[in-house]
């Protein structure tokens, strides 16, 4: 194993060193040239004064566009950073606090690993697979090694920001999606198995799904003429349903943790989870409002909807607990908030603030029910409730988007065209259902196959002894806390 490891490292180094040669030179990102702007009006036989005015107007036009672009780019870069923060340390802390002490580093390591691994894959081939080409199911290789991805905007996706900004923003989504799945496999999955499985999952499940919903020509793309236009503003299907359903499959395939459900396995530090949840809430503004791809009124609308849905969901989950247990818990409140964030994700840029409150309130209750009642009825060990919150929250959010989407918020189908149920276009619910079922099916099948493949190649579950000793020691040779030292 060790020899294989050294050979792999050597090969990787050679490949990485050769990359700059392979990548076509893209325009320098430090260039201050404005994006594709009008080159000014021509003035053939006009008098000099008029030419001067026209030139001035053309110049002004260029500068206004540049200013708008600067605003958009600034917001998008911040959004990208916010979304990355959602994974690290947001999700890492949220999950980290929920597991037992002996598995803290392991779950954090998995999120961190993805921050690194997915980034590299994205640069090599991931971005191109998701956003290249114009096929119905998957992109192409035209942007492999980030060829052609530089300061020039890609008008198909975001016409006022450098394509590189769009690329780096989307990368952060690709990072957090597989990270969510680790919540279901927590405390019993091998690190090597995680690396292989999530790499394959990213390429085989995430990339096609992202392309179908957001890529040019994608089957489910609502704005670029997909056959089944599913409204998904920031990734309810691509991120949450896909990871949530995959999480369920993983939980079932791996089986229950040793001792579950008899042995108590309470969270070892809800303080960490609390901090993580708050970072998720703040970071999610980048996730949802940033999906407007501009510093626009639509971004504001998505920001506002996101916030109110989250607040309502935290309250509804807490109310449910207060009613059921006589006391609201901290874990319940933060879980409710996350459920609201998930549910508003597909709806953020399509619904108004009042519907956002409604969506959040419903999501809090539904996810509470999923995580307490449904999980115990079926008995699956979705350790950190990745399915209960993301799978279920994403599904309910996607469906409610069809109900509450309004053209007055976002006329996505064209001026004057109704969008969702509140506009009278109840058929959109049908489209949403198609998108939801598709995401479910795709994730389900993809995950089963890839899990099996991974299991055959390298194995997915740790041995019982390793599981009892703890993943931090057995997978990483470390202890999370050496408080006596």
């Amino acid at each position: 194993m060790k020899h294989l490891g050294w050979k792999c490292c050597f090969l990787m180094t050679m490949v990485l060193a050769a990359l700059p040669l392979l990548a076509q030179q893209t325009p320098s990102l430090t260039a201050t040239s404005s994006p594709a702007a009008a080159s000014g009006t021509t003035s053939a036989a006009a008098p000099e004064a008029s030419t001067a005015v026209n030139d001035k107007l053309a110049q002004l036009d260029q500068r206004v566009t540049a200013a708008q672009s600067a605003g958009d780019n600034a917001w998008m870069l911040v959004s990208a950073a916010l979304v990355l923060m959602m994974t690290g340390p947001g999700l890492a802390l949220f999950y980290g606090g929920l597991v037992r002490r002996k598995n803290t580093l392991a779950i954090m390591m998995q999120s961190f690993l993805l921050m690194a691994l997915i980034s590299v894959l994205w640069a090599l081939v991931g971005y191109s697979l998701c956003f290249g080409g114009n096929g119905p199911v998957i992109g192409g290789f035209e942007h492999a090694f980030l060829r052609g991805v530089g300061a020039e905007p890609n008008p198909d996706y975001a016409g006022t920001i450098p394509q590189a900004t769009f690329m780096i923003y989307q990368l952060m989504f690709a990072i957090i999606t597989p990270a969510l799945i680790t919540g279901a496999t927590a405390e019993r999955m091998k690190f090597s198995g995680t690396v292989l499985f999530l790499t394959l999952w990213f390429l085989v499940v995430y990339a096609p799904l992202a392309h179908m919903v957001w890529g040019k020509g994608g089957l489910l793309n609502a704005s670029l003429g997909g056959k089944f236009p599913t409204l998904d503003f920031a990734g309810g299907t691509v991120v949450h349903i896909s990871s949530g359903v995959s999480a369920l499959v993983c939980a079932l395939y791996l089986g229950k943790r040793t001792g579950y459900p008899k042995q108590p396995m309470p969270p070892h530090s809800l303080v960490l989870s609390f901090i993580g949840a708050c970072l998720l809430w703040v970071g999610w503004f980048g996730f949802n409002a940033g999906s407007a791809l501009a510093a626009s009124a639509l971004a504001t609308s998505a920001f506002v909807a996101t916030h109110f849905a989250t607040a309502a969901a935290a309250i509804s989950w807490s109310l449910a607990e207060w009613f059921k247990n006589g006391r609201p818990s901290a874990l319940g409140a933060i879980s409710g908030a996350v459920a609201g964030l998930v549910a508003i994700t597909p709806a953020a840029g399509f619904v108004g603030p009042m519907p956002a409150l409604a969506i959040g309130f419903v999501a809090g209750l539904v996810c509470y029910w999923m995580v307490t009642k449904v999980k115990s009825i079926f008995g699956y060990d979705d350790a950190l409730d990745a399915f209960g919150v993301h799978g279920a929250g994403g599904t309910i959010g996607a469906l409610l988007t069809g109900v509450f989407a309004q053209q007055v918020v976002n006329p996505i189908f064209g001026a004057g065209k109704p969008v969702g149920g509140l506009d009278g276009h109840w058929g959109q619910l049908g489209n949403q259902l198609v998108g939801v079922l598709f995401a479910w099916g795709f994730a389900l099948v993809g995950t089963i196959v890839l899990l099996k493949v991974t299991d055959m190649i390298i194995g997915v579950r740790v041995s019982e002894t390793e599981e009892i000793e703890g993943l931090d020691i057995t997978q990483h040779g470390e202890e999370a806390y050496n408080l006596e030292s």
């Binding site: 108590p264 309470p266 969270p267 247990n325 818990s329 874990l331």
Partner: protein
């Protein structure tokens, strides 16, 4: 020489320590322990799952004293650690065969 092992409520510790100091007893070893006698625990709920927590946090005081001091120490501890409710704890006494001070290897009651 006798060893006093006293398991008490953590909230009573400061009072016990101060009272013992007043009668001239300053050396002791304190450990954080968990346990229970007849005291009931509590229930915690995490995402709908209930956990009964039987083991309650207590403090264990250990001190080795020359025989003449033992009775007064026990009385002091009893007076200050008692709240009258179940869960107050227990005191155990045992004989000690030898005591040695590591610094200068003094033995017997001089080492206490």
């Amino acid at each position: 020489m006798m060893k006093i092992e006293a398991i008490i409520q953590p909230s009573r510790f400061e009072s016990v320590k101060d009272a013992l100091r007043e009668i001239g007893i300053e050396g002791m070893t304190v450990t954080e322990v968990r346990g229970h006698g007849r005291q009931k625990g509590h229930t915690e709920v995490y995402r709908g799952r209930e956990y009964t927590v039987d083991l309650l946090p207590k403090l264990k005081l250990e001190m080795v004293l020359p025989d003449p001091l033992v009775q007064r120490a026990v009385d002091t501890i009893l007076k200050t650690a008692k709240t009258g409710k179940i869960g107050d704890g227990k005191i155990f006494l045992s004989r000690v065969d030898e005591a040695i001070r590591i610094r200068n290897e003094e033995r017997g009651e001089n080492a206490l």
